[in-house]
Symmetry: D2
Subunit: 136 residues, 4 copies
């Protein structure tokens, strides 16, 4: 599940030869390097999320998880614990929605702009992820 | 959010002059006429749903709604009613997921292939609809 | 899933001999006969739903399902259809939440008031139904 | 939201004078002292969760949250991140369902067994928490 290439995010959308060794799955980073994208003539407006924001949100939710443990350790009333569990679940789902929006705006949009079978695969893959979000 | 091209989208529902009276919102049909799309050079693979299928599924869910009324009229045990309500909810969400997949494969893909601001608007609009699905 | 007993709702919570032939599942009608319940000394406050309300809500959701079919027949824009699907899903879930509240206030509360293993079974059964609601 | 009383769980369900200073909300700990409950003649079967299990599950989900941060730091493919977000959301909801089941089996069941207005309040409160779980 991890990306192990050493070249870093900067190479992701480049048209360089080395990019051809990166599999299709790996060509879509969380944060597409916008400079490269624009050089390719693909305008990306409305791409709001970035890696720092994503990490900040995840750290905040991790903090909510530790807060939940404190509530349980202090024998907090079940319903009050459940209220915090629901708030944490909502924060996670909100994070997922932002990430899906970013994914559609970058990875899926790029695949469609490039055309071919890969575009269909990307959309089908996104639809399966949306289904997991709805059913979780 | 609107499709402003004169040639492509306008032809989807008919190809006739009357299609020009269809608002921009209506230019992205549930079932894009694949013939036209292919003539435009946009290959659409994996587009499985069609209007008849959609109507058949909605009619089946309407039947489930009538079945629920019969259960209540017959004083069926609450938990048994609730089991059927959950099955009906799942069927509705499954319908929504198929329609969203179709929407991404046709309307959103078309907007992206055409490029410009409209693509961003379409994706943002789809993301808002995904959020409603997750939170409903 | 249907209740076929002829004696009507009035016998549901009675301690009469005939009630003993009704299985535990059948002793909890959608609309507990409050008169009997009160005669038995089980106060039921806050039981707001009744059969007519439940049927009215289900009929309204059935109407929404027919509205969805009209939208599809008229080639309404996918996102507009999806907005209505989400509204219908929400209405169904709201119906389920009301029915679960009624169930807890009547069937589960009665089982607990009577004590014994049946109370545990009723709560476990309700928890499984809640899980289906959360995951649907 | 925290319980600050020093007397510990043992006093929660007792009929002792000190218990009268504990508000109704505080009388229902995460882990009801079963000894006391049994002395009062309230059999509680099927109460499976306990504080250690709850904490263990929450720590595991906190670990999943840290795993998510690693995935983002390593520029893992969006869809792979989203798969883990959905798994984490499911784990949180599963935790909430177990806690709600425990709450019904202990706090709500005790309130019903004691009778009075408090029972209605407890059920209404549980129903609101169920609604938050369904809509989150």
């Amino acid at each position: 599940m991890n990306r192990t290439q050493g070249s870093g995010g900067g190479a992701h959308f480049s048209g360089s030869a080395s990019a051809e060794h990166i599999t299709a799955r790996h060509r879509c980073p969380l944060i597409p390097p916008r400079g490269n994208r624009e050089r390719e003539g693909i305008a990306v407006h409305g791409y709001t999320a970035n890696k720092d924001d994503a990490l900040k949100r995840l750290r905040r939710i991790e903090g909510q998880m530790r807060g939940l443990q404190r509530l349980v350790e202090q024998d907090t009333y079940c319903i009050d614990v459940l209220t915090q569990v629901s708030a944490t679940t909502k924060a996670l789902q909100s994070f997922a929605l932002t990430m899906m929006d970013d994914h559609l705006q970058s990875c899926v949009a790029d695949a469609i702009a490039q055309g071919g079978d890969q575009a269909q695969d990307k959309i089908a893959e996104a639809s399966r992820a949306i289904a997991r979000m709805v059913h979780s």
